[in-house]
């Protein structure tokens, strides 16, 4: 009786071992975690936000330009829109910030509004600051300009 129990325990352990071996090795799993579940990894150093104030080239004509400055603590909610303190029409001459383009004053039927269109109110929906980090996934984007050259 006792030996049977011991044997079955050994068998179970063996089975679970083989089951473990059959699982996909950690480096093949498409995960951001990269380490086993029971190990606390050292987090990578947080990359610094690009704050060079140099406007970046756009990759295609309709691209919302990326933000060339940090936006830490900039409040965008019903009460205040910090971005518009600098990017509104009234303040852009003085703040040296480019005024939001006219599309930001248009509703979806292309009517011009007197103030910022509600669909353009939450700036960070479309505009984001950049960090100097290794891209997590590859990117084979080809600029339209290059594409047209190749076609010729």
């Amino acid at each position: 009786m006792k030996t049977r129990k011991i044997l079955s325990v050994i068998a179970l352990v063996g089975l679970s071992m083989s089951a473990m071996a059959a699982t996909i090795p950690a480096d093949k799993v498409a995960t951001l975690r990269q380490v086993p579940l029971d190990i606390e990894p050292t987090p990578p150093v947080m990359p610094k936000v690009d704050n060079t104030d140099v406007e970046k080239a756009r990759s295609y004509p309709m691209q919302p330009p990326v933000i060339p400055h940090k936006i830490d603590g900039y409040q965008i909610d019903l009460k205040a829109n910090k971005c518009m303190q600098c990017h509104s029409r009234q303040s852009s001459t003085y703040s040296k910030a480019p005024m939001v383009s006219v599309t930001h004053y248009m509703d979806r039927d292309n009517n011009f509004l007197a103030t910022l269109s509600p669909r353009r109110y939450f700036c960070t929906q479309c505009h984001v600051p950049q960090v100097d980090a290794k891209p997590l996934v590859g990117n084979d984007f080809v600029d339209l300009h290059e594409l047209m050259k190749k076609e010729k």
Partner: protein, 196 residues
């Protein structure tokens, strides 16, 4: 001349030496002096105690929580600006004046102008405007207690910052609070605020 002066001094000395009822006036003066020091010190201690974050957050809980995520609470240099750095002037006389005004706050707590989050939100714009007015009037004195314009190295600032600081700030046309509203707290409704 000298004699009359000596006579006067004698009278004064007599007064000082004469026991009031139980103590000599000299003792009383000295005692008063010592008591004064203790009182002054105690007053100072009381002021210091009422200048802590804990004291203020008794009544300003939500405001305190907002501060914690800002650069003035934790930053790379480890210098923290707390409530009294921005809100209570460091000068002794101003300090007392501010404490006197603070009795209006305690009154406010009793009549409850901001004792619920809803009431605070409703009144927040008014209170913020008081602070902006005060900082505008004193040329952002509290900010300048820590941030000295003369010590600013524009070459180490971002282009955006240097551009503004070397022009509108340097010329005195604008002061810190004109451009840096909401640096420590969430902003109230800004719809009717000029320059925003």
């Amino acid at each position: 001349m000298v004699a009359s002066l000596l006579a006067k001094l004698k009278v004064i000395w007599g007064v000082i030496r004469r026991p009031s009822v139980h103590y000599s006036l000299g003792f009383l003066t000295l005692g008063g002096f010592v008591a004064g020091i203790i009182f002054w010190g105690g007053f100072n201690v009381a002021l210091e105690a009422s200048s802590t974050e804990e004291f203020c957050s008794d009544c300003h809980q939500n405001v305190y929580h907002e501060l914690q995520s800002t650069i003035h609470y934790s930053n790379s240099s480890g210098v923290r600006a707390t409530c009294h750095d921005c809100h209570v002037p460091h000068k002794w006389t101003d300090k007392i004046a501010r404490k006197m005004q603070a009795s209006r706050e305690i009154y406010g707590q009793i009549i409850g102008t901001i004792d619920t989050p809803e009431k605070f939100e409703a009144r927040r714009g008014t209170l913020a405007k008081h602070e902006w007015k005060r900082l505008k009037a004193n040329d952002s004195q509290e900010c300048r207690d820590c941030h000295k314009f003369d010590s600013m190295d524009f070459t180490r600032q971002s282009t955006r910052a240097a551009q503004m600081h070397s022009t509108a700030l340097a010329s005195g046309e604008k002061t810190c609070i004109d451009c840096h509203k909401g640096i420590a707290h969430r902003l109230p409704d800004m719809a009717d605020v000029k320059d925003f």
